[in-house]
């Protein structure tokens, strides 16, 4: 039996459709809520399916006028890069198309100042970098052919410099930044938008592993600002915006000085 694409697609009332990878908590979950509120149909992915189901339930309950499901749930571990091409294709079929993909998943294990733990490092590279490449490559191939679409990667201010605190976390985010920049340059001529989001401190479980925090914003605030950046088709955006100034300064501190700094 051939499964049906979502029924009821009306030519005059086109839907916006998004995939959010890493949607079970934090920024991802908040972004799913925000996108659904803005009329998107969202495919929400994460390893923890139960959290996704409760998220979907609460979002779908909040869209009473729509009989359609707003959030579709897919269990997925981003380490399983083998399954991504087929899963991507199936999800896009289920959605009936694709306008936006957001890669949110990221891990930041606690790393001591003098710790060199390859298992933790490899995990960060796999989840923060390779997972993103596996998913966003698929989106790039598709959007290149369909001449349109929006790719968003949630990176971090941490990718702006290599710092003493978390070398491989910085590396992973720097890699993601460079990858997204390259995608942007490749795809701009095809009408595809690529947005790099660089949040500062956001009140999520990952934050517990950060040494010192300030200017902390809630995931909901972050999601609202990310949505705005998506709507405005921005390139690189710091969240909140004042981190842009910090980033500018940090990036220009000479290495000879930066190496003696504490953070």
């Amino acid at each position: 039996m051939v499964e049906s694409t979502r029924p009821g697609k009306r030519p005059l009332e086109p839907e916006k459709r998004a995939i959010v990878i890493g949607a079970s908590s934090g920024i991802g979950a908040a972004l799913v809520r925000r996108l659904a509120l803005q009329g998107y149909t969202v495919a929400a992915l994460a390893r923890r399916e139960e959290e996704l189901h409760s998220l979907a339930k609460s979002v779908n309950a909040n869209c009473p006028e729509d009989t359609e499901t707003r959030v579709l749930v897919y269990g997925h571990d981003v380490n399983d890069t083998d399954v991504v091409p087929l899963l991507f294709q199936d999800i896009v079929r289920d959605l009936g198309g694709l306008d936006l993909i957001v890669y949110v998943t990221g891990i930041q294990p606690m790393v001591d100042a003098n710790e060199y733990n390859f298992d933790k490092d490899a995990a960060m590279i796999n989840v923060n970098v390779l997972g993103a490449i596996a998913w966003l490559n698929q989106a790039a191939i598709r959007f290149e052919r369909t001449r349109g679409g929006h790719i968003v990667g949630i990176s971090s201010i941490a990718g702006d410099r290599g710092r003493v605190g978390s070398p491989v976390y910085n590396t992973s985010k720097a890699a993601l930044n460079t990858y997204l920049e390259a995608l942007r340059n490749r795809l701009a001529r095809r009408g595809v938008t690529v947005t790099t989001i660089k949040p500062g401190f956001v009140d999520t479980p990952n934050l517990a592993n950060a040494a010192k925090t300030f200017w902390v914003i809630s995931p909901e605030d972050a999601a609202a600002q990310i949505y705005l950046a998506i709507r405005r088709k921005r390139g690189t955006v710091y969240i909140p915006a004042r981190w842009g100034m910090v980033g500018l300064i940090i990036r220009h501190i000479p290495s000879s000085i930066f190496r003696w700094m504490k953070f």
Binding site: V2, S4, P7, R10, P11, L12, G97
Partner: protein
């Protein structure tokens, strides 16, 4: 190291494709003809029945449905199958058998009307039913059961199909005619590609004795005169079509032009072999001998708004009125394929494109209903830019749009700002049409909702159609966006 990784990548891809992934090389953005909606599909272009069968196996393996697409001239989503497989049938376009004595022709589904008339005219034949564009395919015409400007007399194209072969998703091929598998004959014609794939269509063509038609144009000052004129002339005309100025108000509501045409009888054309020659049928590539017709739409674009089109409609009516009644002889192709006259004219509607809303209403209620419809569109600030008026008759096909009455084809420009307003207006118009006992036509449709389809077709008809679909296509392999929108 690098080599190792590359070979790993390749094995991953192989793994993926064996589990039902479709090659992205086939992914294409496909647009509804009107351009108001578009979506991506995995497009394949089969040339043989074997390839068709292979594609059905591929669809089953990848868990995706198959939509059928001919010339892609359906205004809405009848030939779209978002994110699934779409078969562009235009390469199966051989003329299989032609008998110039009897006028019986057997065609592959991808043969276009343009290909067909050019093949037979010099032998003294013409397709009995043609669409307003000649880019439509026979398979598409049969699936939509299209009609022409002679619908009140010739009926839909299905009435001229003698038999067809239908390939089912199982690969089995069934011959259908009025005698053999007649239930499938009357359901697959007009069944918008849901019951099987036409692999050949045999039809009876119409004898003509000239390459020209006697054409008469006249203006009508209001809607009542328009109806009266049609009633008076249907018995004496081979073709009649009306164009209505949808901006006209008050006592002039529904004014417009009428074009009617008659075949020339045997002997009326002194040199039929000349007029039937293809070079005497073809449209000239330039308008006024200078402007290439392919770029006219660019100059139309600034006028495609309420003000511009109201001026055009008024000017057209007044020019017709002042010019008075005109009689002329026109080649078949020039009279019929008005939509091909300005290539890409739909582009003048801008990036949002257009939709068409075409209700069919019984003659008893049509006069009031059409007046209500025209007035409602004006009240909502969305008069149609092009409105065409035709007469129809009933037929025996299961999912038919035909009835003893009239149709009003209205083109609405679509922009982001107008989208929801047009959708809301269509809902209001649906009420008028249903109350008047009207019907709708899948080839034109973009707005039909399941409850409206149920109301005009009747639950029994829909059940019958679905039961037949279940029998022919148990895995529900054949689908389109239209099918999912209206019937699931």
């Amino acid at each position: 190291m690098i080599e190792e990784q590359t070979s790993k990548d390749i094995s991953q891809n192989r793994h993926a494709s064996s589990s039902g992934q479709l090659s992205l090389e086939h992914l294409e953005v496909v647009s509804a003809w009107g351009g108001a909606s578009r979506s991506a599909s995995y497009v394949f272009r089969p040339t043989t029945e074997d390839q068709l069968h292979d594609l059905m196996l591929l669809a089953a393996k990848s868990g995706r449905s198959i939509g059928l697409r001919g010339g892609g001239n359906s205004y809405g989503d009848a030939a779209l199958n978002s994110e699934n497989i779409l078969l562009d049938m235009r390469r199966m376009n051989r003329i299989l058998e032609w008998n110039p004595v009897s006028g019986v022709i057997k065609l592959e589904p991808g043969v276009t009307i343009s290909q067909l008339w050019q093949y037979v005219l010099e032998d003294g034949w013409w397709p009995p039913v043609v669409t307003g564009t000649s880019m439509t395919t026979i398979g598409g015409c049969a699936a939509m059961n299209v009609h022409g400007k002679n619908a009140y007399q010739a009926g839909p194209i299905g009435d001229h199909i003698l038999e067809f072969e239908l390939m089912l998703p199982s690969g089995e091929s069934i011959l259908c005619s009025r005698e053999e598998n007649s239930d499938l004959f009357f359901a697959a014609i007009g069944g918008f590609g849901m019951l099987g794939i036409f692999t050949s269509v045999t039809m009876q063509l119409k004898r003509v004795y000239s390459g020209l038609l006697d054409v008469q144009t006249e203006t009508q000052p209001d809607l009542a005169s328009m109806f009266d004129y049609f009633e008076a002339y249907v018995d004496y005309s081979d073709y009649i079509v009306g164009w209505i100025d949808s901006f006209s108000k008050g006592s002039a509501l529904g004014r417009g032009d009428v074009h009617r045409a008659n075949y020339l009888g045997s002997g009326a054309d002194l040199a039929p072999s000349q007029t039937m020659r293809l070079e005497n049928q073809h449209l000239t590539p330039n308008m006024f001998n200078v402007m290439p017709r392919s770029i006219i739409w660019i100059f139309m674009r600034p006028f495609m708004n309420n003000l511009g089109t109201s001026l055009i409609n008024m000017a057209k009516y007044q020019a017709g009125r002042l010019g008075g009644s005109k009689q002329l002889r026109q080649p078949h192709a020039a009279f019929h394929f008005l939509l091909d006259y300005v290539p890409d004219w739909k582009n003048s509607y801008g990036p949002g494109g257009l939709i068409q809303y075409q209700p069919f209403i019984p003659k008893e209620t049509a006069r009031d209903a059409f007046a209500d419809i025209l007035r409602l569109c004006q009240r909502r600030g969305m008069p149609n830019y092009l409105t065409v008026f035709k007469r129809h008759r009933p037929d025996d096909f299961l999912m038919t749009h035909g009835l003893d009455g009239y149709s009003l084809a209205m083109d609405f420009r679509i922009t982001d700002e107008r989208r929801r307003r047009v959708a809301a207006l269509a809902r209001e118009l649906d009420e008028i049409v249903l109350a008047a006992g009207g019907r709708f036509y899948f080839a034109k449709d973009s707005t039909l909702r399941p409850e409206v389809a149920q109301a005009y077709l009747g639950q029994e008809t829909i059940d019958q159609f679905k039961a037949m679909k279940k029998r022919n296509d148990p895995d529900n392999l054949l689908q389109t966006d239209l099918w999912r929108r209206v019937f699931t």
